[in-house]
């Protein structure tokens, strides 16, 4: 395959170089732009829904439900794909010191399949989106158009999009794992990897193990819909004036398959986000990461626990209380690796001379959201409390605060941090700071209020509450949320303006504008086609040698020879001589 990266052999034609490109850097940018598009659509749906809920009733209930389904599905794709596939694609090979991913062709394929998934998902919005929610619980999702609007072709297209996303994620995971394990440069031992690489690797391993499970469930659901099988549809279902022919299926089976994927999926999103934040934060705190080795160990904790806690999404499914207890206890164990990360962040920040530039602000926002959202998780994790909270706005607030907002903040941090390397220009700091504060304050007002509404017993997924007396006090909360949501959504225009304006008119970036240490900052802007123009550099230390005493600079690049400051990986170990 002559197309595989070879020095001085960059493809000449525009199409091969920028459209059907096998260059991991171009693919990373393609992912980023495609996901920005989906995120804008998802955000626009929020605006309509919040207008409807808090300001003026404009939607029919079924339209509300289909917009809700699509908002969740689109945003799920965005937060799943962006941290790993956009930034991981661009920066994993650079950070480990490789010329490209291990399988460049597969990488290209994975982007185009993901794009197809996104387009099919959008097309279901056009033909009439499903009303079954992003979890697509049967029997609603399994019996076709007879069950409600959007559950015919719309739901089928939705499932096809999910299947395509599974295929794309599998191809991506192969690349991330093989590249990290096999293509590291000399001296780049696993314990010298930037934490971000560990995050992408963890997400890939998790994805490799759980996306196939979702595919299996998706195939069965498609067969229930199109082939009249009865995997998930129970007997005697009476819909549209007739008894459906399905016999003896179990809707619970789908819930098990879905959540066996669905919970690790949360870690596929949040673990690389946490790791990118850790990496970026050390840079702006100018401090070595506290407890690198324990962070890596806790990643194993996330992967392992992620596989055994899916039942906590099913506490209200009628499962045995003993199962519920087991899932509760296992779920509470997740707080251990999560706390290790939180302690590491706080200890890294403790006494640091923090540089409050936008990437750091988003990182601090992430930590704040992660910890306050995580405290809510302690409530959800206990089946006795969750039975009350499960179908209320509490869960909506919890999910958005911890999962959605934190993930998006990590993406904002990553965009601001790596923009200079990706596009050769700096983003505007003032706009970034204003956008940060609007978004952070907005997120807290919106989603903490939702926690309160959950305590009130406000059910989620209701398009209309005026008929319920006990929800009267929630009406003003809805208005507050809607007004703040509209302002916060409006503030995103600041970000989009900053992004696109900086692409063309931003200040030209230096090679290493943040005084950072990892290998991508040794490369010129724009990064050459084969990344490292001559030899690939040798690595002598971990990526967090900040706070060095004396000398003109307070940091050392990973390529700098000499003993490392790091107490865990390099101290006392003689390093290789520079080549």
């Amino acid at each position: 395959m002559s197309e595989t990266h070879a020095e001085h052999e960059a493809p000449r034609s525009f199409i091969r170089r920028y459209i059907f490109s096998m260059d991991h850097k171009v693919i990373g940018i393609q992912y980023l732009l495609a996901m920005l598009l989906l995120a804008v659509v998802g955000l626009a749906l929020t605006v309509v829904m919040r207008w409807h809920l808090g300001i003026r009733t404009v939607l029919r209930p079924e339209t509300y439900l289909s917009l809700m389904t699509m908002h969740a599905s689109l945003m799920f794709v965005v937060v799943t794909v962006t941290p790993t596939s956009a930034f991981g694609n661009y920066f994993l090979p650079l950070q480990v010191g490789a010329r490209d991913m291990a399988f460049p062709f597969l990488n290209m394929l994975s982007f185009w399949v993901a794009l197809a998934a996104g387009l099919v998902l959008l097309s279901s919005l056009i033909v009439g989106a499903p009303i079954s929610g992003w979890t697509a619980y049967p029997p609603l999702s399994a019996v076709g158009g007879v069950a409600g609007p959007g559950l015919g072709l719309g739901q089928t297209l939705w499932l096809v999009a999910v299947a395509l996303l599974c295929v794309s994620s599998m191809m991506g995971a192969l690349n991330f794992i093989a590249t990290t394990l096999n293509l590291r440069t000399r001296g780049m031992s696993m314990m010298r990897l930037p934490v971000s690489v560990w995050g992408w690797l963890t997400a890939a391993v998790t994805g490799l193990l759980v996306f196939p499970v979702l595919s299996a469930g998706g195939i069965m659901l498609l067969l229930d819909r199109l082939g009249k099988t009865s995997f998930f549809v129970p007997s005697g279902l009476y819909l549209g004036g007739e008894v459906l022919p399905h016999q003896g299926g179990s809707p619970l089976l789908w819930q098990h398959l879905f959540w066996f994927f669905g919970h690790p999926e949360v870690y596929i999103v949040i673990v690389p986000s946490m790791c990118m934040v850790t990496h970026i934060m050390a840079n702006f705190a100018r401090r070595p990461i506290f407890g690198y080795r324990y962070l890596v160990l806790s990643l194993f904790g996330f992967v392992t626990l992620g596989g055994v806690v899916w039942g906590h999404h099913m506490f209200v499914s009628g499962m045995s209380p003993y199962s519920g207890l087991a899932f509760s206890i296992l779920t509470l164990f997740v707080s251990i690796p999560a706390a290790i990360f939180a302690i590491s962040w706080l200890m890294t920040l403790w006494g640091a001379r923090i540089q409050f530039r936008p990437p750091m602000l988003y990182c601090l926002g992430f930590v704040s959201l992660f910890i306050s959202g995580g405290v809510g998780g302690l409530f959800n994790a206990q089946s006795s409390l969750d039975i009350y909270l499960h179908d209320t706005y509490w869960v909506v607030g919890h999910l958005h605060l911890l999962f959605a907002m934190a993930a998006i903040f990590s993406v904002f941090a990553a965009i601001h941090f790596w923009f200079p390397k990706m596009f050769g220009r700096m983003m505007n700091d003032t706009l970034g700071t204003i956008h940060f504060w609007f978004t952070l304050v907005g997120a807290y007002i919106i989603f903490l209020t939702m926690h309160y509404m959950g305590f009130l017993g406000h059910p989620r997924r209701y398009a209309e509450i005026s008929q319920f007396d006990f929800l009267k006090p929630a009406a003003s909360a809805h208005t507050l949320i809607s007004v703040v949501a509209l302002i916060t959504a409006g503030a995103q225009i600041l970000f989009l303006f900053n992004f696109f304006w900086s692409l063309f008119a931003g200040r030209k970036a230096a090679t290493n504008p943040w005084n950072s240490t990892s290998l991508e900052w040794t490369l010129p802007n724009p990064v050459p086609f084969s990344n490292f123009e001559r030899d690939i550099p040798v690595v002598h230390r971990w990526a967090y040698d900040f706070e060095l005493p004396g000398g003109a600079q307070d940091y050392e690049m990973q390529t700098a020879p000499g003993p490392s400051m790091d107490g865990q990986t390099g101290k006392g170990v003689p390093t290789e001589k520079s080549t």
């Binding site: 395959m1 002559s2 595989t4 990266h5 070879a6 020095e7 010191g97 490789a98 010329r99 490209d100 291990a102 399988f103 460049p104 062709f105 597969l106 394929l109 599998m170 995971a173 192969l174 794992i177 093989a178 590249t179 394990l181 096999n182 293509l183 590291r184 440069t185 000399r186 490799l208 193990l209 759980v210 996306f211 196939p212 499970v213 595919s215 299996a216 469930g217 195939i219 069965m220 067969l223 082939g227 009249k228 099988t229 009865s230 995997f231 022919p245 016999q247 003896g248 299926g249 179990s250 619970l252 089976l253 098990h256 398959l257 066996f260 084969s530 030899d535 690939i536 040798v538």
Partner: protein, 200 residues
């Protein structure tokens, strides 16, 4: 998709006398293959747990008879696997000429397996057993179908490899045949597992 080491590749990593570039690329291919097999295994593990669960919640569990061709098809697939292994070993011991014939035979046997599976489906359908007859028939059609898709991938790879080896008289693709053999043995073992799961 298996990346071939391109001629004149500058190296994804530092080549050293003991760890050449080709070696590293090949190691990635092997890792990629095993990761793929891990993914496929997870998928069939999910199908298996669904099968056990669905069986467990059913009051009655009518079992369809295995299609008459099942034993013969299984034999074809395992024979194909054995023949491919023979081709690989012959070629590794330097007898690529004999290897070529066996490689083509393995591909044809694999193709025959797929055709046999289609005929088996038709036989069952003619007996009135279709996808939606009962849960067991649904699982049979689904599992054999998903297995068939993976087998079709393997057959395509074998046909492509034997075409390359026989027609173009190119150098024997040791690396690719080795990878294809691992995948093909996996497909064979998976089918045996499914037959045991469904009918024993």
């Amino acid at each position: 998709m298996i990346a071939q080491p391109p001629a004149g590749h500058p190296g994804l990593l530092h080549p050293t006398p003991s760890r050449g570039v080709e070696h590293l690329l090949r190691r990635s291919d092997v890792l990629g293959l095993w990761l793929t097999l891990a993914g496929i295994s997870m998928m069939f593990a999910a199908f298996t747990s669904a099968y056990v669960f669905r069986h467990g919640v059913s009051a009655a569990w009518p079992v369809i008879p295995p299609p008459k061709l099942t034993a013969f098809n299984t034999f074809l697939l395992l024979l194909s696997s054995a023949v491919l292994e023979g081709a690989r070993r012959l070629a590794n011991s330097g007898r690529t000429r004999a290897g070529r014939g066996l490689l083509a035979l393995a591909a044809l046997l694999g193709f025959a397996f797929l055709a046999g599976q289609c005929i088996a489906w038709r036989q069952l359908a003619r007996q009135g057993i279709t996808l939606d007859t009962n849960p067991h028939s649904s699982f049979f059609y689904m599992l054999s179908g998903v297995h068939g898709v993976h087998a079709a991938g393997g057959v395509s790879a074998l046909l492509w490899l034997s075409g390359r080896a026989c027609l173009r008289k190119a150098e024997w693709p040791f690396h690719a045949v080795g990878l294809a053999a691992v995948y093909w043995h996996f497909v064979g073992a998976l089918w045996v597992y499914l037959v045991v799961l469904l009918f024993l």
